[in-house]
Structures are given as structure tokens and as C-alpha cells.
Amino acid sequence: MLIISCGNDRSKGVRLKLNLKIKIGKAEFKNPVFTASGTFGYGEEYADVFDISKLGAVITKGLTLKEREGNEGLRIHEVPCGLINRIGLQNVGVDDFIKEKTHFLKEQNAAVIANVAGFSENEFYSIIRKLEGQDIIKGYEINVSCPNVKKGGIEFSNDKTLFKNLLKTLRKETKKILIVKLSPSAGNIINFAGIAQDEGCNAVTVANTFKSAVIDTRKQKIKIRGGLSGPAVFPAVLNLVLEIKKAVKIPVIASGGIYNPDTAIQFLLAGATAVQIGTANFIDPMISISIIDGIKKYMQEQKINDINSIIGKVKI
């Protein structure tokens, strides 16, 4: 599958020599535009749309130890400028991911971060052990924030001791970069970011989806409960990035509501070292490329040659 875009305006023309490279821990990424877990599959579908090696990184769908079928019933529901999902981590499982997906990602020359979704400390540990030997994986994004499974993951975002012990165990297990994806719906997110820093994590992702619900007024019943994403959450996540950036020194990766270059640039200015494109992929499959181009255009206009010089320029 190849997608050709017709009639869209994508900026070209390089005047300043630009540096878009960023670093998280020891890992270098060619630019700060990543694709968010669960919105980009394992890269296959979009590899037909554009050259995915152009992305800073592809973050995989949340991987569990065993394959998961996901939730029954309605899984997605549109709200004004947003999407509520309750997929329930349908994924191929870590073994099939290694067997069937890594080869393709390698061929595509993609930079890959594995999103790891365990239901217990032991599961997180076992998944990472299996992935350690895969050169293609640059690091792990630990998903302790999925609101769509009955138990597991998100419990770690509500319990500081569980959270701390988990990160301690995982840190010992890997020298690759370790990123923790925080939940915006759990207690005090700033404290959790602090714990992540203390336990040697290389970055925090701010944030997963917001717990949300919709009621069907005719049936007088819950229509859907799940995680809210999309442009509707952008200003709330931007504020979280500003607050967390003030509290911790480790890099913040922003995820929530980006839908154009401007929203991505706002996150960078607020202190995000990298940004993740999520729900917007569904609206425009080429959006990540438009955003990389838009960031370049902004740098040209603002006469900025190094992206790192604008990261965190705006503070609270």
C-alpha cells in the first residue's frame, strides 16, 4: 500500500542548516516527532503511506507477554474534537512481535521504542527480558497508564510503592532507555514523575488518555467508558507538561492532542524533548510528516538552527 498525497501543501526549501536531532538518555533520535503507541500499529500500515524512517521514532502498540484479544463491544466513540477508546490492549504478544514484526521494522530502517504493558511486575520484567536482544529496540515506554483494562497497568499509577519497585526492577534489567508513560487521571502525576526520575528513568511520557465516559440519554445507560484523546485534551496536557517540567530534570515526552505543527511546537516550547502524534494519525495518515515539515518551516522563520534551543523556552 502506498499513499500518495494530492493537493496538500508541504513545505520545502532549506535555507538555514537545521539540526533536529534530540537525545533521550544515551539514545539519539533524528527528530523529536514520534508516533504514539496504539495509533500506529507496528508501523506496517503507515509504511505504505510514507517512509517511516523519517520519524524520530515509532512506538509500538502496547505489548503484553501473551497475545490479547482486547475488549468486547463498542471500542471507539467520537466526541467533539476527540475520541474515546476502550480497545483493551489487543496486541500480538511479545513473541509474535519479535517473530513477525521486528524484521519488517528493521527493513524499513525505523527507530523503534517498545511500549510495554504488563499486568504484574513479573510480566513487565519478562517482556523486557525477551526484547533485550533486539537491536532494533532503542528503548522501552512502560505503560502503567492504560485505562482500558480491568486490572493491571494502571494500578501502578495509583500506588507509589508498586510504581517505585517496578521501576527499580526494570532499571536493573536494561541499559536501554526507560521511559514511563504516566496517567493524567491518577493521583498526583508530578510526584510520580519525581519517582521516575529518582529510579533512574530516562524520561516520562506525559500523558496517556484521560478516563472519560459518555451516557446514552435515550437508553439512560453508559454508552462508553474509556480513554479520551485528540485535540480536546491538548491544553490540559500542555499544562501538565509545563508543571512537570518545572518539577523534574529528566526529559518529558509530550503526548496528547497534537493535530498540527503549532500544537507540536507549543509542547517543545513548554519543555518537551519529543512529541508523540496519536489520534491525529487517524484523521490524516501523513500528519507526522506534515508536522516535521512544519517544525522545519518554523525554525527557518524564527531563524533557529538547533531544535534543542527552543525546548523549554517557555516556563511557568
Binding site: L2, I3, I4, G7, G41, V49, I87, N281, P285
Partner: protein, 262 residues
């Protein structure tokens, strides 16, 4: 097959019945769409409605594509307001098509009203080499009249059922499954597209009882339309296992015997 993301100019947006429209717009795909495939459509530069919406390719030629759509909500109502030269964005062609490489002695195609949108291209492809009959269900007599006039260029045998005819009607009174139940002949294979309830009763009352091989084009709320979000899944039995399959990627066409009806 190449998938194209295109901003296309509307050539025509014609009313077929009170709430059904045929929209023609520029075709930018070098390949031909296969019967059963669909487009994921949105308005140019709009964030509201937020998600794209799937519509079957109704027909095509080298320069144009068309969809036949029924106004049921916000997107379809906004689509119906668009005029010649307005722009829409489509992503396509998506999904796996109907099996059109075999010939059948007797082929039945069953549409629940607007379900004809997903079957029209298939009928056009198959009518030459197959003994093909269309069964189609409507709510009102006016709707049936308008559709039958509209489908005349297909030159096929059409059996229509109307749920709610006024007085003495030229159409069969009742739903399409009831009409098919009375049919004494049988077919080799049946292809259908329509509301889930219709497909469900078509399956339990006809397909299962008469053991007719059948393929259904299924509906689902979609987000990405290309297989990456896992939002559009339905339950499919496969090699003794039940799994969630994506309507946008493994579907929309499924073997009716494999579908798990809730």
C-alpha cells in the same frame, strides 16, 4: 494496490430519494477499485465531525469516483449540503473485496436499502457471466420506486420488498428476509450488505437453514480505516478459534459462516 490520500473536487451531488444522495468527485487513484472496497472520507480542513467516515465505492471511471449515501447523522447531513466544486478528502481504496474470480450458476445479491452502495460495483462486475438476481428491501414505496428507477441501467432482475406499503402495492409487503423465505428456488452463493439486524436474520433464517455459502459486507464504527487502531473489530470464528478481526483490514467482506453474531 496504491492507496491514495486525495483532496478532490465534487463533480455532482445528486438527490436520489428524500434522504439518499449520489456524490461524484475526482478520482486520483491509478488503480481500479475492487467491488466491496471503500473510501474513508472527511471534509477539507475540518476537525468537526472529528473522525473520517467509511463509504463503499459505488462506481468509478478513470476520472471519477462515486458514493451513494444515506443521511443518518452529522457527516452525512453535511455531505448532502456540499455543492459542485466543493472539496472533500478521501483515503482509499480500503479493505478486502468480494470474491469475484469465480463464476456461479445462480447468484443472489441481497441489499438492505442503502446496502446497495456496497454491492453495486460487484453486481456490475458479475452480471455478465452469472445468472444474477437482486433482492432489495425498503421502508416505503416511494423509496422503492426511486431506487428501482435509479438502478435501471444495471438491467438486472430486481425483487423488492417494502416494509410499509400504502394499500395495495406492487411490491412484496414485509422485510427482505421474509421475501427470501418464500423463495422456492435456491442459489449457489449469496452476497449481502445491509443493517446488522437484517444480516443476522438473513443468516439464521436462510443461510444456515438452507446451507447456502454466503458473504456479507459488514459495518463498523471506524477511526483509522487502515488497520492500525483496532477500533473496528468484530468476532470471527477461524480454525476453531474465535478472534477479533478488523472490518477495515481483514473485512469488510466476511464469510457469513465465520461471523459470531452477538
Amino acid at each position: 494496490m496504491k492507496k491514495i490520500l486525495s483532496t478532490s473536487r465534487i463533480i455532482e451531488n445528486r438527490k436520489i430519494t428524500d434522504d439518499t444522495f449520489l456524490m461524484k468527485f475526482e478520482n486520483r487513484n491509478p488503480d481500479k477499485p475492487l467491488p466491496g472496497q471503500f473510501l474513508n472520507i472527511k471534509f477539507k480542513d475540518h476537525l468537526d465531525p472529528f473522525l473520517r467516515r467509511p463509504f463503499a465505492v459505488f462506481d468509478f471511471d478513470r476520472k471519477t469516483l462515486s458514493i451513494l449515501y444515506k443521511v443518518v447523522g452529522r457527516t452525512t447531513s453535511m455531505l448532502s449540503q456540499l455543492q459542485k466544486n466543493d472539496l472533500i478528502e478521501y483515503l482509499g481504496f480500503l479493505g478486502e473485496p468480494f470474491d469475484r474470480d469465480r463464476t456461479f450458476n445462480k447468484l443472489w445479491v441481497v441489499a438492505g436499502g442503502i446496502g446497495i452502495g456496497g454491492l453495486h460495483l460487484f453486481i456490475k462486475n458479475m452480471k455478465q457471466n452469472n445468472d444474477l438476481e437482486l433482492f432489495i428491501g425498503f421502508n416505503t414505496e416511494e423509496e422503492a420506486d426511486a431506487f428501482i428507477r435509479f438502478l435501471k441501467p444495471l438491467h438486472i432482475r430486481i425483487n423488492a420488498a417494502v416494509m410499509d406499503p400504502k394499500g395495495k402495492s406492487k411490491y412484496f409487503k414485509g422485510n427482505i428476509v421474509k421475501l427470501l423465505k418464500k423463495e422456492t428456488k435456491r442459489c449457489d452463493t449469496l452476497f449481502a450488505c445491509g443493517p446488522e439486524l437484517m444480516l443476522k436474520s438473513l443468516y439464521s433464517d436462510i443461510i444456515q437453514k438452507k446451507r447456502i455459502p454466503a458473504y456479507f459486507s459488514m459495518d463498523a464504527i471506524m477511526a483509522c480505516g487502515i488497520g492500525s487502531c483496532m477500533g473496528c473489530t468484530i468476532k470471527i470464528k477461524e480454525k476453531g478459534l474465535t478472534r477479533f478481526k478488523r472490518v477495515c483490514k481483514e473485512g469488510p467482506v466476511f464469510n457469513a459462516d465465520h461471523i459470531v453474531w452477538e
